[in-house]
């Protein structure tokens, strides 16, 4: 679901609580800045109270005391000081709030990225890689509003009205009571309206998600719609869905508007009540504030000026409410990602005799949390130094999981994997990786040139070594035809290479790295016969003198291997 609010609406109370706690924990490193933002906001609130008091006194002095300008020099000067102070605090509030959000975002993003790296490529196949990138970018960004605006405002919505009451009560307790008694009615009525709004919004968010999805879906499928001559007919459906969306949204919005109208009504009503009460008191027709001196103009104006300020923080909080919804939805997704357990990787032993690699799996079981059945169940096999082993079996049989274990992206739940007789758990995984080359089903090319991509493992490799690797992997065969040769930019936005060419670049990487252990995950899947032949020629050359494990479906690939091991239901079944 790509709408954060839609996601929040679908959250249960327990999930919301969990998300709130997670946000609280995540916000800890930025607490200092958050407090500074609250301090700035609160100071500004106090300055507003002081400003109201000064203006009330000025008007009193002018209207009642008939004071001339010279006598008013001091309050006028003081007002300027307050204005300056408010300006500084307004800036500080914004800057400190943002700083808090930025602190949270950058540290969280780094933590999440590290976690994704530890989880390895298996995660990207289970979850769309685009969704993971969205988590790293958008969902982390979605926390900004919460930490920069909502959180400080939530504090201010409590503090500032309190400060207003503290200021008003000594001046006139009746006016203070009007504010105090109107105030609790506000959340009460808002909650009553809000409860209905929550029900309605669940409904509406579902329609919203559906409509967004529908529109995207139909745009994506335009070609298919055209093929069936249904594109024009879709216009009618889109119109219907838009109309339904509008009706439902308006139903929610009417309630939302009603709840802010309630807030506004009480704000307006208390201004009106205060004004009328103050007016009668000043006229002397009534005298309610028993125990306090008869009201004077300055007191009346002060109370009147403060009445709107009393409600302002609440109104602002309501305006930032969507920030909270977005953050809660993001928090749920982010915490779920961070909760996926990553392999521990605590080993420190260096790989002994790294030039010759032997591998032994004995009774290895791997079970993913939430997986229906274990990915591997009692897999045992050995690979001797210099041997090339093909792992075959239906998709999902556990071939990729076996390779993931050797890359340190997965952990055996029971059984052991040893490399040169050292259990994987004791090995320093970084050292093992130094001696491993890996080629995936569709190798990833990074932004940069073909040469940059070949140099991935050895950025300092010289030109001669680079060209040799490129020649061995048949990269030069096609690169020679490109105007820029090996310096041709590739990647998402660069010149597109064909699937076979990409695999050959990946092989060149492995040639250049010259590692004794070579792991390949379906290196020729989806290639046409010509391309597969070239990739196989390169693999034949690359495997010489190395220990190689290839997961594959292709009979042609099996033909270049010394031995074929079939995995079925997580177990080995030796074939040939």
């Amino acid at each position: 679901m790509n709408n954060p609010q839609a996601a929040t609406a679908a959250m249960t109370a327990a999930e919301r609580r969990h998300a709130r706690n997670w946000l609280k924990q995540t916000g800890k490193p930025a607490q200092g800045w958050s407090r500074l933002a609250i301090l700035a906001g609160f100071t500004q609130g106090l300055l507003v109270i002081a400003q109201c008091w000064l203006i009330a006194h000025l008007l009193h002095a002018i209207a009642i005391d008939h004071a001339g300008l010279p006598a008013l020099a001091r309050p006028f000067a003081l007002l300027l000081v307050i204005f300056a102070g408010r300006a500084v605090m307004a800036w500080g509030y914004e800057a400190a709030g943002m700083r808090a959000a930025l602190t949270v975002k950058t540290s969280l993003r780094d933590r999440l990225y590290g976690h994704l790296q530890a989880l390895g490529p298996g995660l990207a196949t289970r979850r769309h890689s685009g969704a993971l990138a969205t988590a790293l970018i958008e969902q982390v960004e979605a926390l900004e509003g919460y930490f920069a605006r909502y959180q400080p405002q939530a504090m201010l919505a409590g503090l500032i009205p309190l400060a207003c009451l503290v200021a008003v009560f000594p001046v006139d307790w009746v006016a203070g009571s009007i504010l105090l008694f109107c105030a609790p009615l506000v959340p009460l009525f808002m909650a009553l309206v809000g409860m209905k709004a929550a029900d309605a919004s669940q409904d509406q968010f579902r329609v919203l998600a559906r409509m967004g999805g529908y529109f995207l879906d139909r745009l994506q499928g335009l070609t298919t719609l055209r093929l069936f001559g249904r594109a024009e007919a879709e216009l009618g459906t889109i119109r219907e869905i838009s109309d339904e969306f509008r009706r439902r949204t308006m139903a929610v919005l009417r309630l939302a508007f009603l709840s802010s109208a309630v807030l506004e009504f009480f704000a307006s009503l208390s201004i009106a009540l205060v004004a009328v009460y103050v007016g009668f008191s000043l006229l002397g027709t009534i005298q309610l504030n028993i125990g306090q001196p008869r009201m004077v103009l300055s007191a009346g104006l002060f109370v009147l000026l403060l009445a709107p300020e009393f409600y302002l923080p609440l109104r602002r909080l309501a305006a930032h409410y969507h920030d909270r919804a977005a953050a809660l939805a993001a928090a749920q997704e982010l915490s779920a990602l961070l909760d996926i357990p990553a392999p521990a990787l605590t080993g420190i032993a260096p790989l002994p005799a790294p030039q010759k690699i032997s591998i032994e799996f004995s009774a290895v079981r791997v079970a993913y949390k939430g997986g229906r059945r274990p990915a591997l169940e009692g897999l045992s096999f050995t690979v001797s130094p210099g041997e090339t082993l093909a792992l075959v079996g239906a998709s999902g049989a556990g071939k990729s999981t076996a390779l993931s274990l050797l890359m340190g992206f997965a952990e055996a739940s029971s059984g052991t994997v040893t490399v040169n007789s050292v259990p994987l758990g004791e090995l320093d995984i970084a050292d093992l990786r130094r001696h491993t080359a890996w080629i995936g089903q569709r190798a990833h090319l990074f932004h940069g040139t073909i040469a940059d991509n070949i140099r991935l493992g050895r950025p300092d490799a010289d030109e001669a070594a680079l060209r040799r690797a490129a020649a061995d992997a048949h990269v030069l065969d096609f690169a020679a035809d490109l105007p820029l040769g090996l310096d041709t930019p590739v990647g998402e936005r660069g010149t597109g290479l064909s699937g076979g060419q990409i695999q050959r670049v990946a092989l060149a990487r492995a040639f250049l790295k010259n590692a004794p252990l070579l792991l390949m995950d379906e290196p020729t899947s989806g290639l046409d016969a010509d391309s597969e032949a070239l990739v196989l020629a390169a693999i034949r050359r690359l495997k010489a003198g190395r220990t190689v494990i290839i997961a594959t479906h292709s009979p042609a690939v099996m033909a270049v291997c010394d031995r074929v091991l079939e995995i079925a239901d997580g177990r080995a079944r030796e074939a040939a």
Partner: protein, 587 residues
């Protein structure tokens, strides 16, 4: 300045097309505007009248006896009236303007969709997958604020400033002038300055965001490579650096926003200060009644509410302009093929002929197809084979008239496709390719796409022929099972068999198979092939593939290489010739 900005030809050019549809909702928008004005009047009236009332009562109360003759009923009632007016008008205004905006948004969506139809697939292919579509939805949503957050607040601000200051001028021209200057500063001078100052860091932010996304996507997709080649820490540092740069720019923006808020607030406060200062002098000079000063001061404070949404309006204006520009750019794309002014009626025959057809993709160095001659007789089966990039799929696109050839002609039943309506041509074709577009709808709806009036019996027959009946019968919801977006929930083989079922329902005379079996394992492929056999019976077939299996039954096999026909003939002939086909078959 705002008016000048609005009058800029660029701005009008960008946003103009999106202003026109507003005309349809004139009444709605006018009502919203009046209600909005009433809200502001309520606010100003409430505060100004309260200020005046309190001051007047204080003066009356101080003067013995005056209190008894003071008419406090009408001001008291007016104050309550203003309070209610403010609340009610704001509620009404929000309901009305949002209603109008949603209607407008629906219009925009429809307009965009109808513009996009003829662009698929040739013109939309140039956009990166997903990027275009998500931008289109986001851009349309960005425009929803055009009236709500830009036009209406600006109009209200202008009218409120004029009326408010004119009314004030009746009491004190000097204070009215001060208020006017303050309002202009808050609403028109400062916001665009800050919007402009924020543009550069804003653009840099967008760029940094793009490189951050790049690092993130690469880090996620290339995680195994990064780990295996010791580049993981390098990539992580790169991501952290981009993240930091983004943070620095966001901090700079926050400083600007903070400064903007500070200065706008200050300008309003200074106007109030000046009004009080001038008022004090006027009161002591006896030219202004004290209660009137309170009225002016309080009214002025409330009037500044109208300036509050202006910074946002200017910010949104920039965003909307770029959104509008992107939408217009898409809407203005010329479709790759369009119907001639007077399309000829669709000919009766289905003989498909390519004569001397050449086609070069935009920006490509070599033609994808170079003087190709091919004939697909009704009922004939023709296989197009060759390595990826040999131009096989382009040939399919030309047959479907998704594109027109640069030279030569494609004719259907003897009529040049260019003289026909592209959508009419499509009625003769059914396509099964390696990617099946399924819609987020029920199975029934996905099938009915091919024949909206199909009965359930017909649907089940198609499913049976496509080897899907057993699977659908086992689904608890049967035909009413809702499919997810994309292909989720279905295996690749099932999705393709569903495409076969659709093609069966469509019952078109010419069938294009575009690598339908790519990437399937042997079992799945066998089931799909059985379904395809049913589909091919009695139809002309153009089978595009790079796999050489099961081509023995084809009437003709054409080997394409680099846009040329390398060899052609039936299976036996090609094997006998010992050329490219025979070599590949032997490999």
């Amino acid at each position: 300045m705002m008016l000048k900005l609005l009058a800029k030809p660029g701005l009008l050019r960008d946003l103009g097309p999106f202003l026109k549809p507003l005309g349809r909702y004139k009444l709605w928008l006018a009502a919203g505007f009046l209600l909005s004005l009433a809200t502001l009047a309520g606010s100003v009236g409430l505060l100004a009248l309260s200020g005046w009332f309190i001051t007047a009562t204080a003066i009356a109360g101080a003067a013995a006896g005056a209190a008894l003759t003071f008419d406090f009923f009408s001001p008291g009632a007016s104050i309550r009236g203003f309070a209610i007016l403010r609340t009610a008008a704001r509620y009404g205004e929000r309901v009305v303007t949002h209603e109008a905006t949603f209607r407008l948004l629906a219009d925009l969506r429809l307009w965009l969709f109808s513009k996009a139809i003829p662009l698929a697939p040739a013109r939309l292919g140039g956009f990166r997958a997903g990027d275009l579509l998500s931008r289109l939805t986001a851009d349309i949503d960005a425009l929803d604020g055009l009236y709500l957050r830009v036009l209406a607040p600006t109009g209200i601000f202008a009218v409120a400033t004029l009326i408010g200051c004119l009314l004030m001028a009746l009491v004190s021209p000097v204070i009215a002038l001060v208020a006017f200057i303050g309002l202009i500063a808050c609403g028109i001078v400062l916001p665009p300055l800050f919007a402009m100052a924020g543009r550069k860091p804003g653009e840099r932010m967008t760029r940094t965001m793009a490189s951050l996304r790049e690092s993130a996507v690469e880090g996620v997709q290339g995680v195994a490579e990064l780990a295996a080649y010791g580049a993981a820490n390098r990539q992580r540092a790169e991501l952290a650096a981009a993240s930091d740069t983004l943070a620095r720019q966001q901090q700079r923006m926050a400083h600007l926003t903070g400064l903007g808020a500070a200065l706008t607030g200050l300008a309003g406060n200074l106007a109030l200060w000046a009004a009080l200062f001038i008022g004090a002098a006027a009161v002591s000079a006896g030219t202004l009644a004290p209660a009137m000063l309170a009225l002016l001061a309080f009214g002025l404070m409330a009037l500044f509410e109208a300036a509050a949404p202006m910074p946002l309006a200017f910010q949104m204006l920039g965003k909307m302009r770029s959104a509008a520009r992107r939408l217009t750019a898409l809407a203005n794309l010329t479709p790759a093929t369009s119907a001639p002014a007077k399309p000829l009626p669709l000919p009766a025959g289905n003989r498909l002929v390519f004569s001397g057809v050449s086609f070069t993709h935009t920006g490509a160095a070599r033609p994808a197809l170079d003087s190709i001659d091919l004939v697909l007789e009704p009922g004939q089966r023709l296989a197009l084979i060759g390595p990826s990039g040999a131009g096989k799929s382009t040939l399919g696109d030309l047959a479907l008239r998704f594109r027109d050839p640069d030279a030569g002609a494609v004719t259907l039943g003897g009529t040049d496709l260019r003289q026909l309506d592209p959508d009419a041509v499509l009625t003769r074709f059914a396509v099964v390719s390696q990617r099946t577009q399924l819609f987020a709808a029920t199975l029934r709806e996905n099938l009915a796409l091919a024949r909206p009036d199909a009965s359930d019996d017909e649907l089940w027959q198609a499913l049976a022929d496509a080897q899907l009946e057993e699977w659908v019968r086992a689904l608890p919801q049967g035909l009413d099972t809702v499919l997810g977006e994309g292909e989720s929930g279905l295996s690749g083989g099932q999705a393709r068999r569903l495409a076969v079922a659709r093609a069966l329902l469509k019952n078109a005379p010419i069938l294009i198979l575009d690598e339908p079996t790519t990437g399937l394992d042997a079992d799945t492929e066998a089931r799909l092939s059985a379904a395809l056999d049913r589909l091919m019976a009695g139809r002309s077939v153009l089978h595009i593939t790079h796999q050489l299996a099961r081509l023995e039954t084809m009437d003709e096999i054409v080997v394409l290489k680099d846009g040329h026909i390398a060899e052609r003939g039936c299976h036996a002939e090609l094997m006998a010739a010992g050329g490219h086909y025979a070599r590949l078959k032997a490999a």
